[in-house]
């Protein structure tokens, strides 16, 4: 195909700048990818943690069972709440013994209070919604204390937000640089072929026909950059897996999205440059 052939000749005119363009696209996507990996791994951890997110309200010893049952019915109707269980003193003791193993004897009946255990619906487990449920449960007079894994839920959330923001900021910065560099390489080839392009114009080649080789050039560079980034991220992930901890990698859709992202950057770079410089020829 003529356009594809011409796109390749264009790259051959400025090999160093072309390579630089591909590498910056790769860096950009590498930054997105690396922080993206951190984010999805935290996400996974959060999902596991969140499944265990529960709000536990300790009930005063003197409370009669009817009040507790009424409260449980109320709480069960909170929109965030998935399930409400009652943990009696005996059950609490039993659980504690199971968890503590050899120290099981330390506990005696009556030491542990009864409690209401609330599990939240998926999507309703963020620190704010957990806190709001806890606050509403505190309003019952017979509830002494409400506990939930406050700090570490918040920490995980914060970590994930930081990873996301850092990834996006760094990735966008690199993406801007990549688009500028791709634009520059394409500008060079546009200028090198100015005469050819002006003749094409005169004899009636359409703008699209003139642009196509440059767009293909940008597209190819973008896809190459995307694939290179994929290799970088994959190697980084392998290293972490080998020496530090078990992590998950992007699924197929996300990998595809990354390569498409590269293609978009490449095409954007050439579009900006070609649009601006073709008009002057």
């Amino acid at each position: 195909m003529r356009s594809a052939r011409e796109a390749l000749t264009a790259s051959r005119r400025a090999p160093l700048l072309s390579a630089l363009g591909v590498v910056t696209i790769a860096f950009s996507l590498f930054a997105f990818g690396l922080f993206g990996l951190v984010a999805i791994n935290i996400r996974k951890a959060l999902d596991q943690v969140e499944e265990r997110v529960e709000v536990r309200a300790f009930v005063s010893d003197s409370t009669d069972i009817e009040s507790v049952a009424a409260a449980m019915k109320d709480i069960g109707e909170f929109p965030e709440v998935l399930r409400v269980d009652y943990v009696s003193k005996e059950k609490a003791l039993e659980r504690a013994r199971k968890e503590m193993g050899e120290f099981a004897d330390v506990f005696e009946a009556g030491v542990l209070p009864a409690s209401i255990e609330v599990h939240l619906r998926p999507g309703m487990r963020s620190p704010t919604s957990v806190r709001s449920v806890a606050d509403r449960m505190k309003t019952y007079s017979f509830i002494d204390d409400v506990r939930y894994g406050e700090e570490w839920v918040e920490k995980l959330y914060r970590l994930r937000n930081i990873a996301t923001v850092a990834g996006i900021a760094l990735g966008v910065a690199f993406a801007a640089v990549a688009i500028i560099i791709i634009g520059a390489t394409i500008r060079m080839t546009v200028l090198a072929r100015a005469k050819e392009i002006s003749i094409m114009r005169l004899v009636g080649a359409t703008d699209m026909f003139i642009r196509l080789p440059f767009l293909i050039d940008g597209l190819v560079k973008g896809v190459l950059g995307g694939l290179l980034a994929l290799v970088f991220v994959w190697v980084a992930n392998r290293v972490v897996n080998e020496y530090f901890m078990e992590t998950i990698f992007f699924d197929r859709q996300l990998v595809f999205l990354g390569v498409v992202g590269g293609a978009v950057m490449g095409v954007l770079g050439s579009l900006v440059s070609v649009g601006r410089h073709l008009r002057r020829i």
Partner: protein, 246 residues
């Protein structure tokens, strides 16, 4: 076929390049556009192939208006125009044949017909023997013939030539001029900008003369004696061409 109505062109920095230009060119006509350097000849030709738009007025070419033309319409129109320049505008790294072929390839012409068409126009301009030569291996006159062949490849209804003999010696000038006459006599209109007054005087084609961006003479409208040449108009050997319009 071609009509300019009260066209003006102003450039932001150099000011008025054309003012109150109105004329019409009919099918198959041969028109000289003369006038001193800077009088606006090139600017008019640019408006004709819609490389630029008039600041005021309207240019019509083969049913396409400068006011409404889209990019696609302009491309399609140019496939029916032949455009030739003083500096040939050939691609130095391609043979004569490849230069001509280029014009067909980039407009998506069917492959099957390209070879025969290229051979035909190269023969028409008398360069069949030099088909595989590169432009630097050709004389100025030969290079201009390649450019004309490229302009002819799409069977244009009009050939627009901006000082096509400006870089050529006497002999080559006569040759290229004769070629343009032949092309015209086979039905293609020719609009040729030139400041070569000898060439203009020796022939009897319609002449539009510009000065400071205005038409100061149009032989289709004025009697020959009104021509503001320092020499009398009697130099002409034959009366104006009968195809000339009002």
């Amino acid at each position: 076929m071609i009509r300019l109505t009260d066209v003006a062109k102003e450039y932001p920095r150099s000011g008025v390049a054309l003012a109150q230009i109105s004329f019409e060119v009919k099918k198959g006509e041969f028109v000289y556009l003369t006038g001193p350097s800077g009088s606006g000849k090139t600017t008019i030709l640019k408006l004709l192939y819609l490389d630029d738009k008039p600041s005021r007025g309207e240019v019509w070419v083969n049913g396409v208006s400068s006011k409404t033309a889209t990019g696609r319409e302009i491309s399609r129109l140019r496939r029916r125009l032949g455009i030739v320049f003083q500096d040939f505008r050939l691609l130095e790294d391609r043979t004569a044949e490849a230069n001509v072929r280029f014009a067909l390839e980039v407009t998506g012409a069917p492959k099957a017909t390209i070879r025969a068409k290229v051979a035909r126009v190269l023969t028409q301009v008398g360069l069949a023997a030099k088909a595989t030569s590169f432009p630097p291996e050709l004389s100025g006159g030969e290079q201009q013939r390649v450019a004309i062949a490229r302009a002819l490849i799409n069977d244009p209804f009009v050939l627009i030539a901006d000082e096509p003999t400006g870089n050529l010696d006497e002999r080559a000038t006569r040759g290229v001029f004769q070629l343009l006459r032949d092309i015209n006599s086979s039905g293609t209109a020719v609009i040729m900008a030139t400041h070569d007054l000898d060439l203009v005087r020796r022939s009897n084609y319609r002449t539009i003369e510009l000065n400071h961006g205005r038409v100061v003479f149009d032989s289709a409208e004025s009697p020959a004696s009104a021509r503001p040449f320092e020499e009398p108009w009697e130099v002409r050997e034959t009366p104006p061409d009968s195809t000339e319009g009002i």
